[in-house]
Amino acid sequence: MPSSRFDLSDLTPGVLAILGILVLFFGLFLFYPLLHVLLNAFFADEQFSIEFFGLMLQSPVQQRALLNSFELGIVTTALTTIIALPMAYALVRYDFIGKGLLGGLALVPMIMPPFVGAIGMKQMFARFGSINLFLLETGLIDAPIDWFGGGGFWGVVILEALHLYPIMYLNIAAGLANVDPSLEESARNVGAGGFRLFRTITFPLMLPGYFAGAIIVFIWAFTDLGTPLIFEFREVVAVQIFNMATDVHANPLGYALVVFVVLVTLALFYLSKKFFGGRHYEMVARGHVMSASRRATSLETVLIWGMLLSITGIALIPHLSVVLTSVTERWFMTVLPSDYTLAYYGQIFEHDLTLLSIKNSLWLSVMSTVIDIVLGVAIAYLLTRRRFPFRDALDAVAMLPLALPGLVLAFGYISGFSGTFLDVRVSPVPLLIIAYAVRRLPYMVRAAYAGFQQMSVTLEEASMNMGAGPLRTLWKITMPLVLANVAAGAILSFSFAMLEVSDSLILAIKEQYYPITKAIYSLMGRITDGPYMASAMGMLGMILLACSLLFTGKVLGKRMGQLFKV
């Protein structure tokens, strides 16, 4: 059989039309704004110049920031590995009571929009915050521990690791699940055991999955803005970019930094594409029989429970503190709030700003999700079902937003569309929708791609053969069969859009268009009860994201991991 695809060389008018729309979309809403931002880095006084790059590389501040960002990425990746590896191993390879519960709990840290966590973290970890006060009261320490000390580096690393380890866990778990148990059995058969087995069989086979996760974590930590901002750890690239971009004179040096960040992320992106290009989709999608797990002995069960509970417990401290702050009436230098109230939850639904922002967010997210569904399904369809020129390029472009800091895109939109009908001052709605859609498109493409990949192309051919045209086939056969995947991807896109921070902060410049995240941010600026109200809003966001992830997990099952890969 030469190939099981449709007639590949024929670029039908339909395919050409889809490609044209995609080129237009990406050209207008990805490359044009990006170019707009980047050109600023190369032009000083209308003249091409690389002076800003020179200045960037010579400045001790920027050098330190670059080194710190790399360090942050590396250390965070290492830490997430240390947390996630035993966790994934235990959850994939052992059966024990409460496995489902612990597996679900392990994912919970993802539902925290990091800057919401910051409110709680300050309350908990301040030098006279709850933890220290508790330790002081119980006499365990006699001077407050400086949690955020040391310039904030470790604070950032720990918060990021606690936020990101689920992604690493999902990837490693997918990688491990991928290892055919019979391979391990046969290795054991010839006398390999313990570490040797891990080194020679398990590790090489799970390595691609691990590498994919590691790159996501690295890029995330490398470009993360929120967490370092919270910790006032300013010597990292993302914060430097933010500072320069928001600088009164719009310092172009910041754009030089952007170029650098984009180059680094693209290099990593290319690396992972090159070595696992297209392969990992199938590896996970094929769904090996998961019979590799074995019953844990009671001692092992206790150990596993202990390990997983303590990791999740630590990771959930910020969530807990957000819950607490959201019901706080008064909390001043005591371990727990001295007075409680549920008033803030009521206020959310009375207050104009919050109510409007919930509506706005729903509307914006629904619209962006619809765009994502249309584009994501179209892209995934083209990638899996058609062969056309620059196919790999389309694949890479669709995944590119994963590697772009949201900040960069938002600034590109602001400056690139200023004065056009898309100007955010006229209405930020179109650009907000598009920004959300572009940023979350990779998840949708991933999900749909997996769906198409699992589905035999002959099912569509059979329908054509029965006399159904391409559109009817898409509607009656293809869509129903990839619907679960599309729904899962849509829910992820939707909930991440609801909690999108950087685009919202920058693009939503009129109060009547505030989405939830900007409302939270704005509420935090409220002087006294701001944090409490913001926490209540944050809780709402967390509940929403938790429900969506739960649903997605139910639909996608083990394949969930592949949504978080480069």
Binding site: A78, D247, F332, M333, R526
Partner: protein
């Protein structure tokens, strides 16, 4: 997964979206509109929107909708307005700017981006010309002080007690090495309210001594937040014990947790009260509405919102704003039980006269200098500071640490060149090298670890790639 379930789910989802849109954003139904860009917090926006609605209805019989624009803090607003006017010199579709202190309004006035409006005599006559030597409104009526802000030190009494530290009286007290790491700060490049105390320090102590104080205070600082409002919050949470802050942030915290816990002081003769402005922007599309809003803000009805507690008639409905009114007679007229402000700035005496022109002219240079010498180099500065503390020769080291490469005159002259980004960045680079020289890189212990970290991870990455490459080759 049940297919029908997913289908109906998606249907609900789309329905929800359409539903939200129907009742959703931008349901502008009022007859007139007004676009205001403002860094003011939500409570102020809410109360003045509500108040103006009634005022405008009474004045014109028409309804007006206020569109509040939020493009960030004061610095971002200024940048936004300036860049917008370069593209559209005739008008940028925004009517007013409200809040942000007084320097930004002076800057915009100097750039001729404000539309003058002379208030009716009945209102103008009640406004004092100046407070503490500072004009309350522009002589050419391009901006008015809508309220006032004082600058002082907020502190956490319980923390100070627990760690046995003194309570500060002056800016200089914040340089006390015992306060090391207990001082909170904000970045003046980001926050207008963070900028003012530094400029005050430079003016009251003089350029050279001023920089020494800023450097020492910066060395004592825990960190530098992006917004001025973060400082009193950090003080309240006990992360730091002291911070420089605008009065009303401090009042809000004191009102929330009690005067026995949080204190606020305005150093005698060392600080200012300055107006917090409002103005109409050049080419305002809704000029008449904007002028009406200005009349409202400076009327007694508008001014009461700043000071009164929510509830009693004439005051705010929901939010307590804790701000000064600029109408002196209101301090007597408002029932003391109904006011949230206990201090009358018009009775406040200060021998210090703030030079607003000077402050505005060198604002960005001073901010960048603080940025380079104190904030960006904070880690090195702190290390040097700690070493000096251990060696006990702070007094002899401080003049060198606090020295700056330019004189006061040069700082005032640099203003124009500062707009040339290449020049500015070259200068900043030279300064940051100077900072590294002054404080020493001092990363000796760290360099080894960093070297190991990078070479180690480089090796791991290379190994992994090589390994995978081989694997890939083998599998064809």
């Amino acid at each position: 997964m049940n297919l029908r379930f997913i289908r109906s789910f998606i249907r609900c989802f789309l329905f929800a979206g359409v539903f939200c849109q129907a009742g959703g954003p931008a349901a502008v139904s009022a007859q007139d509109r007004l676009v205001i860009v403002s860094p003011h917090w939500e409570g102020i926006r809410y109360e003045f929107t509500r108040g103006f609605d009634a005022f405008y209805r009474a004045e014109t019989g028409r309804t007006a909708e206020i569109e509040w624009m939020d493009v960030g803090g004061t610095s971002e607003i200024i940048r936004f307005i300036k860049s917008e006017y370069t593209g559209k010199p005739g008008g940028i579709g925004i009517d007013m700017m409200f809040g942000g202190g007084s320097d930004p309004f002076m800057e915009l006035a100097r750039l001729d981006l404000l539309a003058p409006y002379r208030l009716p005599e009945t209102l103008l006559s009640k406004l004092p010309a100046e407070v503490g030597g500072y004009p309350v409104y522009d002589a050419e009526y391009r901006w008015y002080g809508a309220t006032m802000a004082g600058f002082g030190i907020v502190y956490n009494k319980r923390v100070a007690e627990l760690v046995e530290l003194p309570l500060p009286e002056t800016w200089e007290d914040l340089t006390d090495p015992r306060l090391y790491s207990w001082v909170g700060g904000a970045d003046p490049r980001k926050s207008g309210s963070a900028h003012v105390p530094f400029e005050i320090i430079l003016q009251v102590y003089g350029w050279e001594r001023g920089w020494q104080i800023i450097t020492a205070l910066g060395a004592n600082a825990r960190g530098f937040a992006n917004t001025g409002s973060q400082v009193p919050k950090d003080v309240t949470s006990g992360e730091v014990a002291y911070g420089m802050a605008i009065d009303f942030y401090a009042w809000a915290q004191i009102n929330a947790v009690g005067p026995d816990m949080i204190g606020y002081t305005m150093p005698d003769n060392l600080t200012i009260l300055n107006p917090d402005g409002i103005s109409i922007l050049k080419g305002a599309p809704n000029m008449a509405v904007a002028q009406s809003f200005l009349r409202y803000i400076l009327s007694e009805a508008g001014q009461r919102l700043w000071m009164q507690k929510p509830g009693p008639p004439g005051g705010p409905e929901k939010f307590q704003l804790n701000r000064f009114t600029v109408l002196p007679h209101l301090y007597q007229r408002i029932d003391p039980a109904h006011t949230s402000v206990t201090f009358n700035p018009f009775t406040w005496e200060s021998s210090f006269v703030y030079d607003a022109e000077k402050g505005a002219a060198r604002r960005h240079i001073v901010d960048d200098m603080i940025g380079v010498f104190v904030i960006d180099a904070h880690a090195a500065l702190q290390r040097r500071w700690r070493r000096a503390m251990e060696e006990g020769d702070l007094a002899s080291v401080l003049p060198a640490l606090g020295s700056v490469p330019i004189t006061e005159e040069e700082s005032l002259a640099l203003g124009d060149q500062w707009r040339d980004q290449a020049f500015r960045n070259r200068t900043l680079l030279a300064w940051s090298r100077l900072a590294a020289e002054k404080y020493g890189s001092g990363a000796a212990g760290w360099a080894g670890a960093r070297y190991m970290l990078f070479s180690g991870s480089g090796l791991v990455l290379a190994g992994m790639v090589l390994y995978l490459w081989r694997l890939k080759r083998k599998s064809g």
